[in-house]
Assembly symmetry: C2
Homo-oligomer: 170 residues x 2
């Protein structure tokens, strides 16, 4: 067992020992979803005030709405959420490289077979050069998508990893 796995088991046992929320239902009680980045410096529950059972939390590299669309559709059409909170953040890794750089790095480290596997999947790393513009672009993508009904409320935000603050962009 790795150290990480041991830590998980210990923390999990302590969490379960005082767990009292086994009654929560599958559909999010507050009928919303948060789409944010996988960044290690974000704790959505605490930073955005999400109580257990209240909201879906979708996380991927860069809080990409394009990459998260499958989960958004499932959240809305199968589990009844009606509002989207999109949160990107300062200091995001996706601001620091391009698709070309990422593909180059994969080739250098993992060889041409890895690049081929990504190309077969048409994988786009979905990087972005400017933070606020990327928030606006992703909100517009969701609003324009035919799989997100016009009745859904969508807002776009930036979380500041330096201050712990979240501010609204759109």
């Amino acid at each position: 067992m790795s150290t990480i796995q041991e830590t998980l088991q210990t923390a999990s046992a302590a969490y379960a020992a005082s767990f009292t929320q086994g009654h929560l239902a599958l559909p999010p009680a507050k009928q919303y979803l948060v789409l944010t980045c996988m960044d290690a410096r974000i704790d959505p529950a605490r930073a955005f005030g999400i109580d257990l059972g209240d909201a879906h939390v979708i996380r991927n590299a860069g809080a990409s709405a394009v990459d998260g669309l499958r989960s958004v559709v499932i959240s809305q059409q199968l589990l009844g959420t009606k509002e989207i909170i999109l949160v990107k953040h300062t200091g995001c890794g996706m601001l620091t490289f391009t698709n070309e750089v990422a593909y180059g790095l994969v080739e250098e480290r993992l060889g041409p077979a890895a690049v081929e596997e990504l190309q077969e999947k048409n994988l786009d790393f979905l990087t972005f050069p400017e933070l606020e513009a990327a928030v606006v672009k992703d909100v517009e993508f969701l609003k324009a998508s035919k799989v997100v009904p016009d009745s859904v409320t969508i807002s776009g935000w930036v979380y500041e990893v330096e201050t712990g603050k979240t501010r609204r962009v759109v």
Copy 2:
């Protein structure tokens, strides 16, 4: 402003007021990633013992490794993580329907243009009929992928929404 947005602003202001971790670095300090479901009943930080800054947390409908592959590659090749903890959970929505049912529901609710948009993207809802088997299958997918090096440690787990416990599958 919606009630959800107001709650976010209030909670965020309180969080920022006592925030002391603005010094954390971009790469996860403990060099691992957790891939789990967007389900509202999971709080990965508390349930799996993840301290702020320690690990990437990728979340999508069903904790799908196929859907999360882009984020996994970025986490490993650009931000240096070396271990994957995959956690699916009991009572997952992805156990309750099939791709056909999901497409049917989208058509019924949003019309043929929405279905077309999903089909153009080749969208697979990536449902699964059996929980433990799905954990094994996703771990095998990651191990077989050429974009995940053999040196990466991968384990698969199930979180029980009824008890708060996390148990290892593979």
